[in-house]
């Protein structure tokens, strides 16, 4: 597949929140922050399947993470969702536009299929 443009929305999830308490080096947290969700119709259109590694690239960085189908109507087409964490932060820039807040939601990204051995999963610094 060629590169496709999406808008990435990082956010909180129950598993990510519970994972913080269990520990950032424990399985639940690393699983929670290393999956990216996509609308099932977008996946079908792009010929991507559950678990397929994809490279997500923003103006500021890139990560390779496994794809997850979003629940039925949770995510509209054209959007990606992932839990806040080290990997979503790699896609943010340092510019805060005079607010102190980097743009952490609504990030323009491109995605393309990647190989399994490129996945960043679980390697928290």
């Amino acid at each position: 597949m060629s590169e496709e443009t999406f808008i990435l929305i990082p956010g909180r999830t129950s598993d990510q929140g519970c994972g913080i308490s269990e520990g950032k080096y424990a399985r639940r947290y690393s699983d929670a922050i290393t999956a990216v969700q996509m609308n099932a119709q977008d996946m079908e259109r792009l010929g991507l399947s559950e678990g397929q590694p994809v490279r997500i690239r923003s103006e500021h960085g890139s990560v390779v993470l496994p794809l997850q189908a979003a629940r039925a109507d949770e995510l509209p087409q054209g959007l990606l969702f992932m839990a806040y964490g080290e990997y979503s932060s790699r896609l943010m820039g340092g510019e805060t536009h005079g607010s102190g807040m980097p743009t952490s939601k609504g990030i323009d990204v491109t995605i393309e299929a990647a190989e399994a051995d490129e996945v960043d999963t679980g390697r928290i610094a």
């Binding site: 909180r12 129950s14 929140g17 520990g23 949770e74 340092g94 607010s99 102190g100 807040m101 939601k105």
Partner: protein, 453 residues
């Protein structure tokens, strides 16, 4: 506040702590019943899924209380080294503070004052833009108790409390029966406005999906409708993703409400527009008071981030992003906020308290933090504690440490700890650093090596 049951007062007997306070999120629920066996909480009655994970996973960590450059050290050595790092720096940053007691926050501000530091809290990367908007517009607000007892229209905008604040609906906003809403849920209308159909949207009577990065346009559409100003229907639909009729219907419901409330989240503050989005929402809330009673509240994330805003405001006059380098406080988000001070490579030392910027900040900010000496205080091991020059493992506030935390509606709540930790509290470490800094200052040694900045 605590009772012990079981046979005899042995150390292993089950201890029950009533009315314990959960400090995981900004709801700060203070009705939790903890069952404690020695150094482990085995049950947290009434806690939500996040609260249960919080209470059941903060056992005593069998690790050194202090590490210097990765090697175990005594707490005293750690305090000495930490004080030295901060006192010798020309542009020290003190950051974090949203997961510790108000008492510790107060000491951290004092240290910042003594050494002329740049002081910032995690507010700057959650509702900092709302903090800027409060100064520009003001906040028509109330306590969560008033919402519980009065609100008949509850709007969540860019916020997903079903996952971030699981007891929000049942304890404060949607489900309770209230003095003026005796029918509870069936007398309340819930509207969720978001870019995706979250778990919270499933609990709503009305879900309005909007186009990403178009909150500002949607809010100004509502402001126009509140003032009966004619708007271009085609443009509204093109910009917001929803037909004008949907917004008009919402405005009709807002005007008809007896007591409306908008809870807003980081869907507004973290996306393009940031403080302009929050300003639009605060202004809309103010506008609505020409028609009925309407309030708004940011849904705050960390357990005592609201306390951090309060304490930093009492001490400096500003809630976050404060520079004390000239001996008096200056406030300038975008300049004195931690993301900027680090990404612009200005800070030459730092102290991070109960926060994890090495995981949550942008790459340039993380790279710079890793390149300077810094001190970290946290109950758990994190990417930030791993890379710290001096890392303290501290007791957990609310579980091991008493003190005060502020609920998201600025109500202070006492903490009732469950068991003692062998690790020192944030307060003890910070007081140790402050005392050392005061001694040097009194002896005529000036911070920053060659004088106050």
């Amino acid at each position: 506040m605590s009772a012990t049951s079981g046979s005899g007062a042995t150390e292993d007997a089950l201890k029950i702590v009533e009315d314990a306070t959960c400090t995981f999120c900004g709801c700060v629920c203070d009705d939790i019943e903890l069952h404690v066996q020695k150094h482990t909480i085995v049950q947290a009655k009434r806690a939500c899924v996040l609260g249960t994970a919080w209470f059941l996973n903060h056992e005593v960590e069998d690790v050194p209380s202090c590490r210097i450059e990765g090697r175990p050290a005594s707490v005293e050595e750690g305090i000495e080294r930490a004080a030295e790092i901060l006192y010798e720096a020309r542009y020290p940053l003190i950051y974090g503070l949203s997961d510790t007691t108000c008492e510790s926050q107060r000491v951290a501000v004092s240290i910042a004052d003594w050494i002329g530091a740049n002081l910032d809290t995690t507010t700057s990367v959650c509702h900092g833009p709302s903090g800027m908007a409060f100064q520009g517009v003001g906040e028509v607000t109330c306590s969560l108790g008033e919402v519980r007892n009065r609100a008949d229209l509850i709007i969540f905008w860019g916020s997903n409390p079903a996952e971030s604040h699981p007891r929000h609906f049942t304890r404060y906003s949607l489900m309770p029966t209230g003095m003026f809403v005796p029918g509870g849920r069936k007398e309340r209308t819930c509207v969720v406005i978001d870019v995706r159909k979250t778990k919270s949207a499933r609990a709503a009577d009305l879900f309005i999906p909007i186009r990403p990065r178009k909150d500002f346009e949607a809010l100004w559409t509502l402001r126009a409708l509140a003032a009966d100003i004619e708007v271009d229907a085609e443009q509204v639909e093109r910009e917001t993703g929803q037909p004008l009729a949907i917004w008009q219907d919402l405005m009709d419901r807002m005007k008809a409400a007896r007591f409306g409330v908008i809870f807003f989240g980081m869907g507004l503050t973290m996306t393009r527009g940031k403080h302009a989005n929050s300003e639009a929402l605060l202004a809309l809330t103010r506008d609505m008071n020409r028609h009925t009673r309407f309030v708004c509240k940011p849904n705050r994330g960390h357990g005592n981030v609201t306390g951090a805003d309060n304490v930093v405001s009492w001490r400096t006059g500003f809630p976050f992003g404060v520079n004390l380098g000239r001996g008096y406080p200056r406030f300038n988000p975008g300049e004195y906020t931690a993301s900027d001070v680090l990404a612009n490579r200005e800070a030459d030392a730092a102290m991070i308290i109960a926060s994890d910027p090495m995981a949550n900040f942008s790459e340039p900010a993380r790279r710079h933090l890793q390149s300077i000496p810094y001190v970290a205080l946290d109950p758990k091991e994190t990417p930030t504690t791993r890379a710290a020059t001096v890392a303290f493992t501290v007791a957990t506030y609310g579980i091991n440490v008493a003190g005060t935390a502020y609920r998201m509606d600025d109500v202070p709540i006492p903490l009732r700890p469950a068991f003692e930790s062998p690790h020192p509290s944030d307060y003890e470490i910070l007081r140790g650093i402050e005392k050392r800094v005061q001694q040097w200052y009194a002896a005529g040694r000036r911070p920053g090596g060659d004088g106050h900045r």
